[in-house]
Symmetry: C2
Subunit: 215 residues, 2 copies
Amino acid sequence: MQQTPFSVRTDTVLFTVQDKRLQVLLQKVPGKHQQWMLPGGLLDQEQDLDVAARRALARATGLNNVFLEQLYSFANGVGPGKQRVITIAYYALIPLDMAQGAHDAMQTVRWFDWQSLPQLAFEQLEIVRMAQQRLAAKLEYSTIAFQFMPAEFTLSQLQTVYEIILQAAVDKRNFRKRIMALGCLEETGGQRREGAHRPAKLYRVKQPDVVEYIK
Amino acid sequence: MQQTPFSVRTDTVLFTVQDKRLQVLLQKVPGKHQQWMLPGGLLDQEQDLDVAARRALARATGLNNVFLEQLYSFANGVGPGKQRVITIAYYALIPLDMAQGAHDAMQTVRWFDWQSLPQLAFEQLEIVRMAQQRLAAKLEYSTIAFQFMPAEFTLSQLQTVYEIILQAAVDKRNFRKRIMALGCLEETGGQRREGAHRPAKLYRVKQPDVVEYIK
DNA sequence: CTAATAGTGTCTGTAAGACAGTATTCC
DNA sequence: GGAATACTGTCTTACAGACACTATTAG
C-alpha cells in the first residue's frame, strides 16, 4: 500500500486568567512580521505525544509542570502534492501568578484576550474555540479551575475565575457553599489584606495536581 | 529542521449491544492466523480524519452513516530506525439490529464481548478501554444511548442498554420518568408482542441523528 | 389460572438557587 | 464614619432515588 508521508505537530492552547480576562498565549511566527501562532512544534523522536507537547511549550515559554491535556486532532494543509500535516491539539492552564513569568521569559510570546486574537491560521482559531468550550464545560463537572490558582488564594479570587470563564455572575454564598462542600480546600491560616476592607482568608488546594470529576 | 516521517492511521472501536453484552467489532489481521485488530487503516489523501475513519469502517463492515466520534490520539511503535505510527482513535455505535449485518457482510470481522477480547496490540486494548469509559460517561450526560436503538424500540430495550453499559440495575419507574422527561421520544402508536405477557409500546427518537447534552 | 413482562405514582431526602445583612479594615 | 470587600444562613424548589401493585397477554 502506498503511503503518504506526514508531518505531525503538537500545538497547545495555554490559558491563564489575567486582567479580568481569559487569556491565551501566542508565539511570534519566526521570520514573519506580526504574525502569531500557538506554541507547538513538529514531533520527532519523542516517545509520547504529551511529552512532545510539554517540551514544545517549555521551549516557547520556559514553563514546566503545567496542567496539560489532549484536546483533539486535525488533518490540515491538504493539497495535491503538498506534504500533509497532522495537528494534535492540547490545552494547558497555568496559575494566575505564573502568567507574567511566561511573558517575560522570551520576547517572542504574548498573552491575548481569547476573544480578540490576532490573525491566526484558520485551524488554530478553531482549536482555541474548542479549547475554551472544553474548559468551560470542565469547570462544571471537575475541579479543573484550581489549576489556575497560585499556592495560596482567596475564595473571591477563585470566584472571579469562574465568573470570567463562564461569563456570568455567580452568587457568593452559593458558590462558597458548593466549593467548600468539595472538600478539596483547606485554610492556610493566613490572611490577605489589600485595601480598605476586611482581609480575606487564604486557602490552598489539598492535592494541587489532582483534577477530580465531581457530581 | 529534520523531520521524521510518520504513518498516520485511524482505528475505530465499533460498539453494539447484543446478547446482553456490550460488544466490539474486530477484524482479522490479513495473513496472520487468528489475530485480530480494530477496523481502521492508514490515512492517505482524505481531506478529513472523520472521513478517513468512516471510510475504513465502511471498508471493513459495509456500514455507512453510523454515529462516530474522535476519541484520542496516540504515538505508537516507537523504536530506533522504525517508522513511527500515529493513531487517531475513534469510537462508533450502531443500532442493535444492524450488528448482524456487520457480521455477515464479510467473514473477516467478528463481534467480541468487550471484556473478553482476544490478543490485541497493546495500544488497541488501551483504546477499547478508553472508548468504553467515554461511552459510559456519555450515557449519563447525553442522549448517546439512542444511537444503539433501531428505528422503533421499547423502553425495556432501552433500559437494558443502559444496564449493560453501566453494569448496574436501573429502577424501571425512575428510568422511564427520566427518559420521557427528555422529550426526545415519541410513541409510534405500534406495539410489540413477544411472549406470554402484555405487549410493549413502541417508541421512536424524534431526531435520531442528534446527540444532545442533558442536565 | 399461571407465568411473564409492561406499565404506573407517591414519598422522602438532597442539592441548587434566590435572597440581605453583619464584620472588618483603611483612610 | 464612609467606603470597600469578606463573610454568613434560611427558605424554596426541583430532581433523584426508594419503593409495590395492577394490566395484559399466551398458553
